[in-house]
C-alpha cells in the first residue's frame, strides 16, 4: 500500500515535472510577449506541483527506509532516476512542437488534471488531498487559458485550423493512457477511468467551438505510467539531469 502510494505520488510528480520542462522550452521564444509570460507561468506552476509531490514522496520513502539509507530529496528523485523509473504519461514528454501542439497538449492535460485533482481533494491521504486542493486553482487557470487557445486557433485562420488538426492527429493517440490504471493506482483503489466521460465531454464541447473533430476511435499508445516511454524521455532527462550527474553529491 505504502509503496503504491509512493509510486502514485511519483507518477503525479513526474507528469508535472516533464510537462513543466517541456513548456519551459518556450521561455524567451514565445509567439508574443504576453504568451511567453503565460506559458512560463504554467511551467512554473507545474514545477511547483512537482516539487510538492516529490517532497511528499521523499518524506514517505525516507520514513520507510529508516536512517541508514541516504536521504531521498525532491532533487534525488528528479535528477537521479532513470528513463525506466519515470512514470509520467507519454503525452507529457512529446515535443513541444508548434504553438498549436503546445496549447492542445496543455488543454488535454489540464482537463485531465482538473478532474483528477477534484477527485484527489477528497482522497483519504490528506497530504495528497492538500496538494490537489492547492494545485486545482492553478489548473483551473491552465484549463481556461488552453481552452481559449484551442478555440482561437481552431476557429482562427485556415492555417491555424490546419495546424490544430495536425496537432490533434499527432497527440490524440496519447490521451488514452491518462485513463488506463497502472498497478499502483489499482492497488490504491484509484480509477482514472472514472474521469474519462467528464474529460470527453469537456474536450467535445471545446472542439465544437473550435470547429475541430473529435477523432474516430484510434489505437492508443500506453506505457509511460509503468516506465516504458517514447524515445523522447531519454533526451529530456539527459538535459535535465546533466549538472547533477556530472558533479554528483554537490549542493547547488
Amino acid at each position: 500500500m505504502s509503496e503504491s502510494l509512493i509510486n502514485y505520488t511519483l507518477h503525479l510528480a513526474d507528469n508535472a515535472l516533464i510537462l513543466g520542462q517541456r513548456n519551459s522550452e518556450w521561455c524567451g521564444h514565445g509567439p508574443v510577449l504576453e504568451q511567453d509570460i503565460a506559458i512560463t507561468n504554467i511551467s512554473l506552476d507545474l514545477i511547483g506541483q512537482a516539487r510538492s509531490l516529490y517532497q511528499y514522496a521523499a518524506e514517505k520513502m525516507n520514513a520507510a527506509a529508516g536512517k541508514e539509507h541516504p536521504a531521498v530529496t525532491e532533487d534525488t528523485l528528479a535528477y537521479y532516476r532513470t528513463e525506466r523509473e519515470f512514470k509520467n504519461c507519454l503525452l507529457t514528454e512529446q515535443p513541444r512542437g508548434d504553438w498549436a501542439q503546445t496549447v492542445l497538449r496543455q488543454f488535454f492535460f489540464s482537463t485531465y488534471q482538473y478532474y483528477l485533482y477534484q477527485q484527489l481533494q477528497q482522497y483519504a491521504d490528506t497530504n495528497l488531498a492538500a496538494i490537489a486542493e492547492k494545485s486545482l486553482k492553478e489548473v483551473s487557470y491552465h484549463l481556461r487559458w488552453s481552452s481559449e487557445w484551442v478555440i482561437r486557433l481552431g476557429d482562427g485562420t485556415d492555417e491555424s485550423n490546419r495546424r490544430m488538426k495536425e496537432a490533434v492527429n499527432e497527440l490524440w493517440r496519447y490521451t488514452g493512457e491518462l485513463f488506463v490504471p497502472a498497478p499502483y493506482e489499482k492497488e490504491l483503489g484509484i480509477d482514472p477511468g472514472s474521469m474519462q466521460a467528464d474529460w470527453m465531454k469537456k474536450v467535445s464541447a471545446v472542439f465544437e467551438e473550435a470547429t475541430l473533430q473529435v477523432p474516430e476511435k484510434i489505437f492508443m499508445q500506453t506505457g509511460g505510467k509503468t516506465g516504458v516511454h517514447s524515445e523522447h524521455l531519454g533526451y529530456i532527462l539527459t538535459e535535465l539531469q546533466y549538472v547533477q550527474r556530472t558533479y554528483p553529491g554537490c549542493e547547488w
Binding site: 515535472l17 520542462q21 519551459s24 522550452e25 521561455c27 524567451g28 521564444h29 514565445g30 509567439p31 508574443v32 510577449l33 504576453e34 504568451q35 511567453d36 509570460i37 512560463t40 507561468n41 511551467s43 512554473l44 514545477i47 511547483g48 512537482a50 516539487r51 516529490y54 525532491e74 532533487d75 528528479a78 535528477y79 508548434d98 504553438w99 478555440i151 482561437r152 486557433l153 476557429d155 482562427g156 485562420t157 492555417e159 491555424s160 495546424r163 538535459e239 535535465l240 546533466y242 549538472v243 547533477q244 558533479y247 554537490c250 549542493e251 547547488w252
Partner: protein, 313 residues
C-alpha cells in the same frame, strides 16, 4: 507662444523636478532620445532572456529551475512595461520590434556573451543585474514620467535578482573544488563585459551633456561605473573569489577603488555586431517572431470573428 516659450516652460519643469508626461510639449530631440533609450532598454530585457534561458532546462536543482524561470519571466514583464512606456512617445511595439530585428535598434551588448556553465547564471545575476541596477536606480528619478515609474517597479525585482545571483555563487564558492573553479571562471569572463555596460568613458560619450541637462541621466557613465566597482570589490570578499584585474586597489585618497583599463576594442567590436553571440541572439529573436506570426494572425482573425458574432446577435 513661440517655440522658445515652450522650451522655457519645458526646461523650467525639469529644473523644478516636475515629471514630463506624454501629453506635455517636449523638444523633438527629447522625445527621440527617450524613445531610443526606453526601446533599447525594452529590447535588452527581451534579448536578455536568451542567455539565461539557455540554462532553464539544465538548472541543477528544482528550486534553481523555478527561480531561474521566474527570473526570466520577470525580464519579459520588464520588457512589457518598457514597451508600453516607449509607446507613450508615439511608436508602436510592432515598429520597435521591427527595428530590433532589422538591426536598426540596439540592445545591451552584454547579452552577446555566452552563458557557458551553470555558474554563469549566478554571475549574470550578480554582475549584470548589479550593473543594470546602478543605472536603473538613477533612472527612477529620470525626467520622463512613464519611464521613471516603470523603473521603480523594475528596480525592486532587479535587486531581488541580484541577491539571488549572489546567493547562487555563494553556494558554489562554499562547494567542491570544481564548483569553486566554475565560480571563479564565470566571474573572470563576466567582469569586464559588466564594466562595459556603463558605456564609453565620459570623454568619449556623445549626447551626455544634453541628457544631463534634461535629467534623462543624472550621473555620468564613469561615475556609475566607479560606484559599481566599489560595490563589487567589497562583495567579492564574501565569496572569497578574485576579480580579474591586477590594478584593482583601494585608493585612500580618492576613497574609491582604482581599476584597470577596459578593452575598448572589444567593446566597440561587440557594439558593431562582432560579439560571440550577436548573430545567435538576433537570429533567435527573429525566429521566434516569424514562427509566431501565424499565431498572432489567428488571434486577430478570431477576435474579429467574435466581434462580428456579437454585433450580429
Amino acid at each position: 507662444m513661440s517655440v522658445q516659450d515652450f522650451e522655457k516652460i519645458f526646461q523650467d519643469k525639469i529644473d523644478n523636478e516636475t515629471k514630463i508626461e506624454p501629453k506635455d510639449w517636449m523638444p523633438d530631440a527629447y522625445r527621440k532620445t527617450n524613445l531610443r533609450q526606453i526601446s533599447q532598454h525594452a529590447h535588452s530585457e527581451i534579448v536578455g532572456m536568451l542567455p539565461e534561458g539557455n540554462w532553464i532546462s539544465r538548472a541543477p536543482s528544482l528550486k534553481r529551475k523555478a527561480i531561474l524561470l521566474a527570473k526570466v519571466q520577470d525580464e519579459a514583464g520588464h520588457g512589457l512595461y518598457l514597451y508600453s512606456a516607449a509607446e507613450t512617445l508615439g511608436m508602436s511595439r510592432q515598429e520597435m520590434i521591427n527595428d530590433l530585428h532589422s538591426g536598426k535598434a540596439k540592445y545591451s551588448s552584454i547579452f552577446n556573451y555566452p552563458t557557458l556553465t551553470w555558474a554563469d547564471i549566478g554571475a549574470v545575476g550578480w554582475l549584470v543585474d548589479g550593473a543594470a541596477i546602478m543605472n536603473q536606480v538613477m533612472l527612477t528619478r529620470t525626467s520622463y514620467g512613464p519611464y521613471a515609474r516603470a523603473m521603480v517597479r523594475i528596480c525592486k525585482e532587479e535587486s531581488f535578482h541580484q541577491r539571488q545571483g549572489f546567493e547562487s555563487l555563494l553556494v558554489l564558492s562554499r562547494g567542491s573544488k570544481e564548483q569553486r573553479d566554475m565560480c571563479q571562471d564565470a566571474i573572470n569572463r563576466w567582469w569586464w563585459p559588466a564594466l562595459m555596460m556603463f558605456g564609453p568613458r565620459d570623454t568619449e560619450s556623445t549626447n551626455s551633456d544634453q541628457s544631463m541637462k534634461w535629467k534623462i541621466k543624472r550621473k555620468s557613465n564613469d561615475e556609475l561605473r566607479q560606484q559599481f566597482v566599489d560595490m563589487i570589490a567589497e562583495q567579492i570578499k564574501i565569496l572569497g573569489m578574485k576579480l580579474p584585474d591586477d590594478k584593482l586597489k583601494w585608493n585612500e585618497e580618492r576613497r574609491h577603488y582604482d581599476f584597470g583599463e577596459i578593452n575598448w576594442d572589444e567593446f566597440w567590436q561587440v557594439v558593431k555586431g562582432n560579439g560571440p553571440c550577436n548573430k545567435q541572439r538576433l537570429d533567435a529573436r527573429r525566429k521566434a517572431w516569424e514562427e509566431g506570426e501565424w499565431v498572432r494572425e489567428a488571434a486577430v482573425a478570431y477576435a474579429e470573428k467574435k466581434k462580428l458574432k456579437v454585433a450580429a446577435a
